[in-house]
Amino acid sequence: MIQLTLSLLLVLLHMVIFGLFGVGVGKILKLDIGGLETLLLGFFSFFAVMQFVYLPSMLLKVGFHIFVLIWAVVMLVILGAIVICFHKRIGEVGKAIYHELYTTKKSLFFLTVLIFVILVLFQGLWNHHGFDASFYIGTVNTTLYTDTMYLYNGETGRIATSIDMRYALSGAFYMNTAFWCRILNLPALMVQKYTMGTLTMILHTLVAFLIGRKVFVNNVKHAYLFTSVVLLVNVFFTSSIYTTSTFLLLRTFESKSVGANVVIPAVFYIALCIWKSKEAGSYWKLLFVFSLASVPIAMSMIVILPMMVFVLMVAEYVCKRDKKVLLQGGISLVPNAVYTVLFFLFLQRIWLIQI
């Protein structure tokens, strides 16, 4: 019971950390964004920063406990600095979130919460997972058992001949699970399934709500109705095992589900913001952060996200004939371009890290 409680409290801890990261990065990049957008920014910023600790650790094959130590210190320093330097902004963001969520139409609020809770319970109770879930949870568990990162095959447990970059390059998401398992002495199965599954659902609902607020011009009532309908439509857009909704409900805690149901919709949200704003500078900066974090969250985003960004950038240039758009969009393509080059070198066996 204690472990289950801790796994669920870890959800709250993640949201607080995301909020703080969002405040810090928002201030540094001088972003003019709302409270909920700050929270979403924080999710992406967290993994964007984490990759700079994770990747060198993984490539240098340092012990997992060393990575835990370094990342714990880095995270504490960052969070401490944010709390000290931006404590006023933290309060402002908290109030902004409250105002953005507040509605006089309580029935719609409770309807949305009810549907959300049912879906969280559903994904927590669903246990017919396949090979991929076994692989990913096995990877986290193997990391904890062997004190290494991606030196062993997560599915079979056998030592690999070289680091498989298909999984290791985007390993930040699963190493985050392993990190918290080590810190709180929790089983990987519980944290990955319950904590990360719930977080995915929260973030998907958050993005849906933000999209609702944007398309219904800040009408919170309609945003709640939109969010409820989207969550319900997800239940029915499951006529094949390949859709985003199937991943959301049946494979919630896998990184590709986060990619499909949080990262991609977040980019769609940014596109809407850019289309509907006269001054979109802050949103292009947000897009860069989202791009920077996309591969550390899900390897599937390595080509999908830059494709979306490229299409958005070209569409905006054609419509507005503003060359600045090409620069802003082009910068957002850089992180995934770097990852694509590295991955291509790995696929061609030019870049192999032997074990």
């Binding site: 472990q3 289950l4 559903f122 927590g124 109770l125 669903w126 246990n127 017919h128 090979f131 879930a133 076994s134 949870i137 096995g138 568990n141 193997t142 904890l144 599915e155 079979t156 447990g157 056998r158 990987a188 199965l189 399934k193 849906a208 309609h222 109705l225 939109f226 309908v229 989207v230 319900l232 439509v233 997800n234 029915f236 857009f237 006529s239 094949s240 390949y242 859709t243 985003t244 909704s245 199937t246 049946l250 990619g259 991609i264 919709p265 769609f268 289309w275 599937s300 390595i302 080509v303 999908i304 494709m307 299409v311 070209v314 569409a315 905006e316 054609v318 419509c319 694509t340 991955f343």
Partner: protein, 265 residues
């Protein structure tokens, strides 16, 4: 998505049942027609780029070599089907003033959704209350406990029935699979004995399906030797004790469903 040779096949498999996608397309066409000049221009650019860059067989062949053909369908994730349907439905409801008309519209959408081929009814039937805090079969934990009581290896190599194999390393990463996913897929896919690809396939076929053939004892012995298998876990129902003893395995315990065999050296 294995076996989809072109974009059209891929799209059809992605969609599954067409009813929700039809609603999506109806809303898309509606909002395209209603769009301002700049919005229409934007749609044109997006459609053209989507088809030129992604939704064509040439891109499938070229880009598929990097991202893998089997996962190329994930580009479809960029199409905001759920959000556009949600937006359309909410707009319809907002614009409908009479409560009776709103009710009819909601019921109509509910009907369409229930005809959409959702897996929901089947999933609800398959939901299970957790037997333990990990929400994995309790017997997997029991199997591990049996092995823990007598094992001498730090990292025992195991081949087990699929359900045990799938969950055992999620629970205890000290175990090593004696086979790999390919062998599991081959056997679960129903390959006949004379077409089993490899020795690992053979071992898993014995464990998973309770198959045994005296003439293949030598092959099986070779398989367990090469794969260095320490434990086999199979359905008790198969009653494989005598057969497995010929290759040096004896039963050390069992659960309601499974028997655990350890290799005697």
């Amino acid at each position: 998505m294995y076996g989809a040779g072109n974009i059209y096949e891929m799209a059809m498999r992605y969609i599954g049942n067409v009813s929700l996608v039809l609603i999506f397309l109806l809303f898309l066409i509606h909002y395209y027609k209603k769009g301002t000049q700049i919005e229409t221009k934007r749609y044109h650019v997006i459609f053209i780029l989507a088809f030129v860059l992604v939704l064509n067989d040439l891109s499938l062949r070229v880009v598929g070599r990097i991202v893998s053909y089997a996962t190329y369908y994930r580009f479809f994730w960029a199409i905001p089907v759920v959000f556009l349907i949600g937006y359309g439905i909410v707009n319809v409801l907002i614009r409908t003033k009479e409560k009776s008309k709103k009710t009819v519209i909601i019921l109509l959408f509910v009907l369409i959704f229930f005809l959409s081929g959702s897996g929901l009814p089947d999933w609800i039937l398959r939901l299970q209350m957790p037997e333990n805090r990990y929400h994995i079969p309790e017997e997997v934990i029991q199997v591990v406990s049996i092995i823990d009581q007598e094992r001498s290896q730090e990292r025992p190599v195991i081949v087990a029935s699929f359900d045990v194999l799938l969950h055992i390393r999620q629970y205890d990463a000290s175990f090593i699979w004696g086979i790999n996913r390919r062998s599991v897929r081959n056997v679960l896919g129903g390959v006949e004995e004379d077409r089993l690809e490899s020795l690992p396939d053979l071992v898993f076929h014995v464990v998973q399906n309770g198959w045994w053939d005296e003439s293949r004892v030598g092959d099986l012995q070779q398989a367990v030797d090469e794969l260095e298998i320490d434990y086999l876990v199979t359905l008790t129902y198969f009653d494989l004790g005598d057969f497995l003893s010929e290759i040096g395995f004896v039963a050390v315990g069992g659960t309601n469903t499974y028997t655990v065999f350890v290799r005697q050296f």
